[in-house]
Symmetry: C2
Subunit: 331 residues, 2 copies
Amino acid sequence: MQSKENPIRIGVVGYGNLGRGVEAAIGKNSDMVLTGIFTRRDPSQLKPLHAATPVHALDSLAARKGELDVLILCGGSKDDLPNQSPELAAHFNIVDSFDTHARIPEHFAAVDKAATAGQTTALISAGWDPGMFSINRVMGEALLPDGATYTFWGKGLSQGHSDAVRRVPGVAGGVQYTIPAMEAIEKVRSGERPQLSTREKHTRECFVVLEQGADAEAVRKTIVEMPHYFEEYNTTVNFITAEALQRDHQAMPHGGFVIRSGNTSDAARQVIEYRLQLDSNPEFTSSVLVAYARAVHRMHQLGQTGCKTVFDVAPGLLSPKSAEQLRAELL
Amino acid sequence: MQSKENPIRIGVVGYGNLGRGVEAAIGKNSDMVLTGIFTRRDPSQLKPLHAATPVHALDSLAARKGELDVLILCGGSKDDLPNQSPELAAHFNIVDSFDTHARIPEHFAAVDKAATAGQTTALISAGWDPGMFSINRVMGEALLPDGATYTFWGKGLSQGHSDAVRRVPGVAGGVQYTIPAMEAIEKVRSGERPQLSTREKHTRECFVVLEQGADAEAVRKTIVEMPHYFEEYNTTVNFITAEALQRDHQAMPHGGFVIRSGNTSDAARQVIEYRLQLDSNPEFTSSVLVAYARAVHRMHQLGQTGCKTVFDVAPGLLSPKSAEQLRAELL
C-alpha cells in the first residue's frame, strides 16, 4: 500500500479536457501526487486547475524519469497516442485511453513491443468504452454463455456526430446527442433477447445554429440523410440561437448500458445490467485512468511488465485499500 | 486456452440446488467437463440432471485426484464449507461460495493456510453477493473516491426470512420476498446521495399458509414485529392456501442493485449502477462458480497458489477466449 508519505508519483502528458480531469482526480486520491503536467505548448502559457501544479515542457520528460512512477497520456487516439504510447512506454510505465476499437490489436502490439523491451508496464484503452463497458461485456459472456449482449449509449454528447453536423453547409454551430431507446432497453431487461435494428436502439437529436441566410429545411435534410452518421437513425433537428447553444449545451454528458441476458436453464432467465450516467464524460474517463495508474504501478512492482488491458487487471489492484481490508469491508 | 479435446475437469462436491446448477452450467461451457458429483449420500440414490453424470462417494475423492482439475464445493456456509474448504484445498484446487460476510477473514485464513501448504489454488466467496456485487463495490469506490455506495436487494426470495416466518406458531408454510424501494433507487440514481433509513430502502412481503384454527391477526402481528427480521421494515403479510404456495411460490428469484454515486468535480455527478435480475438465484450463483473455476485452473497453471477472492481475478481469466481474441472482439 501507498501512503501519503510515499505516494504514487503521476505525470500527465497533454492538457485538454482529459488532462484537466486527471489533475482533478488526483486531488481526490490521497495515495497519489501529481509530479507535473508535460506539454508541447509553452509551459508558461498553460494554466492548470491548481496554480501550484508544476508544468514542464514535454521534452524535459526524459530528465525527470526518476521522479515519476506512472505517466497518464491524455492525447487523442487519432494523432497522439499511436506514436506517443509506444515511445513513452519504452521508458515509463504508462496508461492511455486509446479508443479506436478497430485498431486496438495493432496499438497493443506496438506498445507491447516497447514495454517488453523497456521492462515497463503499459495499460492501453482504459476509460468506459473501451474500459468499464468492455469488462462487463467479457464478464457477462463468461457468466451467462447462453445469452446475448446489448450495448446502448447515451444520453450523451457525441463528438464525432457533433463534428459532422458542424461540417454541413449553412451550420454556424451545433451539438448532437445520442439517445438510447428506453422501449428497446425494457425489452432487453425482460430477458426475451430481442433482435433490434440500429433504428430501434438509438435516436439522435441535434441542436443547430444556422448561418445567416441559410435554408433551415435544406440543412435539416442534409443532416438526417447523411450516410453512416444519421441515415440509419430517427433524427430530430432543433434550430436554436447562438446564445442558447452557449448557455444550454456546453456540458459533456454521456453514459449508457451494457446488458447481458441469458438462460441458465430453459425456465431461468438471468439479466445483468451495467449502467453509467455521467455528467462529464471526460472527467469520468480521467477518473478511470487514475485508478488504472494505481494498478499499473502495483503490477510493475510485482514484475508484471509488457502491455496490459483492463482485462488483465484484478479489481483489487484498483483500490488504495489492502487486500485484507477489502476482504473484511467490501467482500 | 482449453479445447474440447483437453477440457477442464470439474468435480462437484455436494448436490443440492447449487450442485444441480453447476451440473447445468458445465453443460453450457464447452471447454469443461464434469468428471463427477461427489456426495456423502449413497451415490446410487442420487439422481443427477443428466443420467450420464457419474456419481461417486465423497470419500473416493482422494483416489481420483489425478482426474480432477478443480473442485466446486456446493455445500452450505454454516455447516459444510468451514471444514470442507480447508480440508479439500490441501489437495485440490477449489472454488466455494462461502457467504457469511462477517466470517470471511477467518475462512480466508484457514483456506489460505491449507492451499499454501498444498500449493493449490483456492477461491472463496464466489457468487453474486459476495461476488459480483463485491467487485462493483470495490470498483465503484476506486473510480469515484468522492462518493457513496448503495446496495439494494431484490425483488427476491430470502431463505433466512422465509425460515423465520415458518417458525412462527400457527404458520404451516410460507415465503418472504425482499423488495427494493424504487423511490429510494430513483433518488440514488439522481446523484444526490440521499441518507436512507433501513425502512426506506426495502419492504418485505410474506405469503403465509395458516395452520388449521390459527389466529391470522396474531400471526401477522408476530411476523411484522419480529426483532432483527421485520420490525425495522414495512411488512405485508398475505394469507394464501397451501395450493397457492405450491403453485406460485416455488421459484427462487433474486437480484438487486449496487449503485455508486460520486462527484469528479463540484458540477459533475457520476452514477455507476450494476443490476441483477435473476429468475433463479442458485443457478446464477452456480454459473459464477463455474466461470471462477476456469480462472482458478488458469491461475494454478500460472503458479498462483494460495487463497484468492474475486478481487484477485482479472476479468479475462473468466472467459474461455484468448487474451488476443478478447482484445479484438470485446475491448
